[in-house]
Symmetry: C2
Subunit: 768 residues, 2 copies
């Protein structure tokens, strides 16, 4: 692995320009605000390796699902995240020479992502054919305060002789997805026009009919004197303004570009264009510095509660902030129709916006950093999709609700049978998030309003999906794919059976609980979704008689029925040239092998830390971890949490580093496609749930902190039931501070610690 | 089921025209000769439901393989059978009215396929707008004698008033495959021209570069006076000749159209067009009646040795001849680069030309009807693909040779992992065909020249594909799909393990045998493919220690390891509305169910009739048959043979009828896509191997005949080691006659019967 970026606590800095790694840098330096996002592309022309990307939350195209032979039950479409109108771009000429870093001579190149401020800046000196040196600089942000706007400051400064500067700032709607199968255009033009100096392109997505309106305008000045632009456009989807000026040495050509995106998701069709123009106009009036200042304040607010400080290890520090930064860029909880796409706003791969990654990996992060409403928003999202999940189950001939593997609006949009039809453990993760939320927040109102509906329909699904095996006197779940996608269509995946048993038990407990605490509301729900005592009894019977495959001679859970028929090897037995096996082995060889893509049995230990004792966890970890290749971005983090849980801190640290720097160090050799957004939360889990040992049981917040050898200390802040609590871990000492909210008792190691709202650091020394 | 065609011993007759069933009739009445084929389309325009199809053996297009997510090891392309230049067509106007049966008024419509003569004829009376009645007739054949030509006689006869007849006979190269994903054109124009009245279109396939040249010319006369044609063409791929005449009542407008196809598979690139013109010109000189006569003679010769006569049951008789007819239309053995495509020359579905169907189902038919060289040609085909089969195994990380699931030239061209990578039992069927051929013919020379190479490399594949399970002390085969494609990625499919053990054992025996009988040749082969004693020993060890799943309490073989974990139901438990399940159930539900698509355990009993005693066969048949939905065209026939084997003659008859009339009665509701060519041989197996009980053991030809209740008698002819033997079965009597070849002893029931070359019928009464 060759490190591409420089380590820094708050920044990702790239001082070397290399065409081969340019798309990686573009992914890493993407900017977004939950509504829209932009890859870290150059504003000026660049004919080298680049994926110019603009993405808008919730806007998608239902591409064809192309498969060998059609299987009944497959979805009708594959939802693609759409590359939208390019808004950041300019053409720049200096003395008539077009600036294109792939072609012209330049020096002192640097680009950096400032995670504290949420800005992307670049700087380089162009050397013209006649040897003139001109400094070009840009600073871009996508407002966290005003979701529909973004702005750029672009400067051109002759360092020696005076130069002619000519600049066209434009919008370009003629954009294709790189992953378009046949270079299809997914957009239709509605209008291209200029109003009051503001360029506008309004387009609609084909088939889905989303209307998206993009606007941009500029303020350009040289030596404090405003330049007037000239309209440029063509017959197609290109429009902008041109500016020219002679610029003397010492003076600055400066452009502020303001851009906005509005969509028919938020406005009436007739209003979309007007609102887009309005936003751009407002931004221009507010001016760049004021916009940037409020944007910075938004980020400062986020960091005030979500920051994790690591001391003594710059790589770890940079890694965790990078992950937190991109998570908040991707999802802010302001719109419960949205979710957390696998690439966020950083690329096009995968398609769809919602995977089980949300509930299993991202949800705990938002639950403990943002306030309840953000996590709750993610749960309401699934509640709103319940009807589609029912249809999905019905399509497979089953009862209740099966949430989709990949979705935009609740409809399944992935089409491989072993995933779509069989990776049904996803349903368990959604029920688990309900449990996790209620356990963490104590929010009974949510459970009664939304939660039980989801839980009960999921339990109903499992009850129809099991089959009773009279030979064993147990309920079985045949034909599934577990979290380890390197096994397909196996029977009795231990993790899946565990989650199914949990769902059935928890649904029955939740129903019984609400019946006791609020009989009136229970009767309403029972009427709405047809709850019966017989059915609840059946849930309990199945849950209590679930079959769990076990390897007697090793005293460990069997990943699935046939696991022990495989040839058992460890990752150390693999030649380096075979790894990653998903790039070097045929699929059947992977399936037949014992090698595990990501936490499977171990995932359940993460979800249910109190259900299994340390010996059990250790035995299973010792058996399965050596066979795990961690070829999923969701693997290292969970193994890291478990390693901490059982005291394997060196292993935990190694896996933490891998998880937190997955993209920044391009571990999987695919960062150019975009970041692994849904796994970024994993490195936070590795610190807070892993090293920090955060758990909640019976309403009591507990920590079991440990300090990795490589660190001198670390601290994080937790939101818990109206409080903000800071935990600061040093060698043999943990400090706890209540920053906000009422007094509370928490547990650190085995100490009950009372925290009062006095900002005082309570110090607990060593494990007692 | 509504019967579409009338029963007749030698014909398939359709007297009713129905737009909805027209494409079924087109499939049924397809004509071909192993080199080229034409669906039973109308010559004149037809704007109703039709799939106009012209197909040429060995000419294909490598279409993209489109899958959800790419898997390592997938093939680069999906080979499509190509719809080629349309050659049979004409435009016809009567009194200026275009004849189009979808639009004009007509009466007395009839079309028939004459299987004895190999002709397709049609007749109908057009009633013009002014009420004139005109009889139109056509007769078409595709020469079995001269593979590159075909001819049509087309007549127009006014039955009342005189009419103006205008006719354009043309070629049209602007043809698309119906299964083209995006209406892609797979052909490129090379030339369109007319020479000496012969129209010619020469085109090349994109990517594969096959050159195909199509020519056509006409002889047109009215009242014995020749009409001269006028050239018509456009800028594209359309060329022909136009003829017009006033035709008086009582006189006949008659056109003979001769057409030819030559390809670069048979000629140098520069010669292809010239040869095509030459063939058309020769045909025109030979004239229609002479061509038809030699074509009829060819068919008469085929029927003289391949006919099966069934008495007392017209539907059975029509069914078997229909199957035999289409098999010989599809494959004649004249070109060992060809094989038996799943739709022959009758449609486009599936793609590729070779499946394991050839060895498992078609091979025994050709082995016993045509002479050895035809069956041998099918084996040489696989020998010639050995190098590609080695590459295929290597792609999956395995040793030896893995023959493709679907192929044109030995390369795999199917892309579903559960099939491509896992349905590896196909390799067993190929080794079995070697065994079957050598056992039947005693052709040791073939085994030494070609057979051992194939066998040994197949055994090598299995030896690398098994894994040793130390817990059971057995070799296992994980992750396979058996013949029952309604289970995917199962472990230890009993049939697959049985075939693998057979391959390993037979390869070692064949190697040892050749080493003894011809040490010199053995040494050569051993050098060529690196045979070692250690490896042979390993083959034997694996074969002897193969794991076979067994259901102890039922005393039957387990279809696969997990079979008994399923809910066991029978087909009778299924509501009729659920069938066929492949059209009504989601794929995962099918996979989890016990329902079986086609013979799986039972398939092995068919291959190895002497290995299992009747009780074993009965127990397994009784267990598995009630769970079998027969939703593959390859199922009923094998079950029928087994039903006969164990004396379940009523069941055998029911299954025979289903197998033999699958297409003619459109059982699977998909005959419009083309016929199920590779399963047509199955109904012959059901008669000759099933009711007739043909077996060969230790060089002795045996029969164990039984007569289904519905028949009064049946007879068939068998080619065996240079002899033709006719077997005639009646109630309580079997007649055997040596038609050709030296005297031989055969066994009928338990009687040894000596046959001499005297054409005498030897009668054996009852089972002794």
């Amino acid at each position: 692995m060759k490190r591409i970026f420089e380590a820094d606590p708050w920044k990702v800095i790239g001082n070397v320009f290399d065409n081969d790694t340019n798309e990686i840098a573009e992914s890493i330096m993407s900017l977004a605000n939950g509504h829209m996002g932009f890859r870290g592309n150059f504003e000026e022309d660049f004919s080298g390796s680049t994926l110019k990307g603009t993405y808008i939350a919730g806007v998608y195209y239902p591409d064809k699902t192309k498969v060998g032979w059609w299987k009944n039950g497959y979805p009708e479409y594959f939802a693609k995240v759409l590359n939208a109108c390019d808004m950041i771009s300019i053409h720049l000429w200096i003395d008539g020479e077009k600036v294109d870093l792939s072609k012209c001579h330049f020096e002192n190149f640097t680009r950096e992502l400032d995670m504290k401020q949420g800005t992307f800046t670049r700087k380089f000196d162009v050397i013209t054919m006649t040897g003139k040196r001109v400094r070009v600089g840009s600073l871009r942000f996508v407002s966290m305060e005003k979701k529909e706007i973004g702005a750029i400051r672009y400067t051109v400064q002759p360092l020696g002789d005076s130069v002619d500067v000519r600049l066209i700032s434009y919008l370009n709607g003629d954009v294709r997805n790189r992953d378009s199968n046949f270079d299809d255009m997914f957009w239709e033009k509605i209008s291209v026009a200029s109003h009051d100096g503001i360029s506008n392109i309004t387009m609609a997505t084909k088939k889905t009919g989303f209307i998206v309106s993009s606007s941009a305008c500029e303020q350009v000045a040289v030596k404090g004197v405003d330049l007037k632009g000239t309209l440029v456009s063509d017959d197609g989807l290109y429009i902008g303004n041109e500016y020219s000026s002679r610029v003397e040495p010492g003076s600055l050509f400066i452009m502020f570009k303001y851009f906005s995106i509005t969509t028919s998701r938020d406005y009436e069709t007739s209003e979309v264009t007007g609102k887009s123009l309005e936003r751009a106009s407002e931004a221009r009036e507010t001016r760049f510095d004021a916009l940037l200042e409020e944007h910075r304040k938004s980020w400062a607010s986020i960091w005030s509660y979500a920051d994790v400080v690591i001391e003594g290890d710059m790589l770890s520090q940079q890694g965790i902030r990078f992950n937190i930064f991109h998570l908040f860029q991707t999802y802010t909880g302001h719109d419960n129709r949205l979710n957390i796409g696998p690439k966020g706003f950083t690329g096009e791969k995968y398609g769809g916006s919602t995977y089980w990654d949300t509930e299993a990996f991202c949800f705990p992060f938002f639950l403990s950093t943002a306030r309840e409403d953000v996590a709750r928003s993610l749960l309401i999202y699934r509640y709103n999709h319940l009807e589609n999940a029912r249809k999905n189950a019905k399509k497979l001939g089953l009862e209740g609700a099966l949430y989709p593997m990949v979705t935009m609006n609740g409809e399944e949009c992935h089409n491989e049978w072993e995933i779509t039809f069989e990776e049904i453990h996803r349903n368990g993760a959604i029920a688990y998030a309900v449990y996790n939320y209620v356990n963490y927040t104590g929010d009974e109102e949510y459970l009664q309003e939304y939660g039980l509906h989801v839980l009960y329909e999921i339990a109903r699904f499992w009850a129809s999906r099991v089959n009773y095996n009279p030979r064993k006197g147990k309920y079985m779940i045949l034909g599934v794919t577990g979290p380890n996608e390197y096994e397909n269509n196996v029977s009795n995946n231990w993790y899946t059976n565990t989650m199914a048993a949990f769902c059935l038990r928890y649904a029955s407990e939740a129903a019984d609980g609400i019946r006791k605490r609020n009989p009136g509301r229970f009767a309403e729900i029972a009427g709405e979704i047809n709850i019966s005592d017989d059915e609840i009894k059946r849930f309990v019977t199945i849950s209590e008689n679930m079959y769990f495959p076990y390897i007697d001679e090793l005293d460990v859970f069997a990943q699935q029925d046939g696991f022990m028929d495989k040839e058992l090897l460890t990752v150390d037995d693999l030649p380096l040239s075979d790894r990653p096996i998903n790039q070097n082995w045929s699929w059947d060889r992977i399936l037949r092998s014992c090698f595990i893509k990501q936490a499977d049995v171990i995932q359940a230990f993460y979800f249910f830390p109190f259900e299994y004792d340390t010996d059990v966890k250790k035995r299973n970890f010792d058996f399965y971890e050596p066979m795990t290749v961690h070829e999923s971005s969701l693997s290292s983090c969970i193994y890291s949490v478990l390693a901490s849980d059982i005291g394997y801190y060196d292993k935990a640290y190694e896996l933490y580093l891998r998880a937190s720097r997955l993209d920044i160090d391009n571990y999987n050799n695919d960062t150019e496609d975009g970041l692994h957004i849904t796994s970024t939360a994993g490195s936070w889990l590795a610190i807070v749930h892993g090293f920090g040992g955060l758990r909640v049981k019976d309403g009591l917040l507990r920590f079991n902190p440990a300090l990795p050898e490589e660190w001198t200390g670390y601290s994080f802040i937790i939101y818990f039931r109206g409080r903000r609590i800071k935990i600061n871990v040093r060698e043999d000492m943990v400090g706890a501070t209540l920053l906000e909210g009422e007094a509370i008792t928490i547990r650190i190691w085995n100490n009950e610690v009372d925290l009062y709202n006095d900002n005082k650091v309570i110090e607990i020394k060593g494990k007692s």
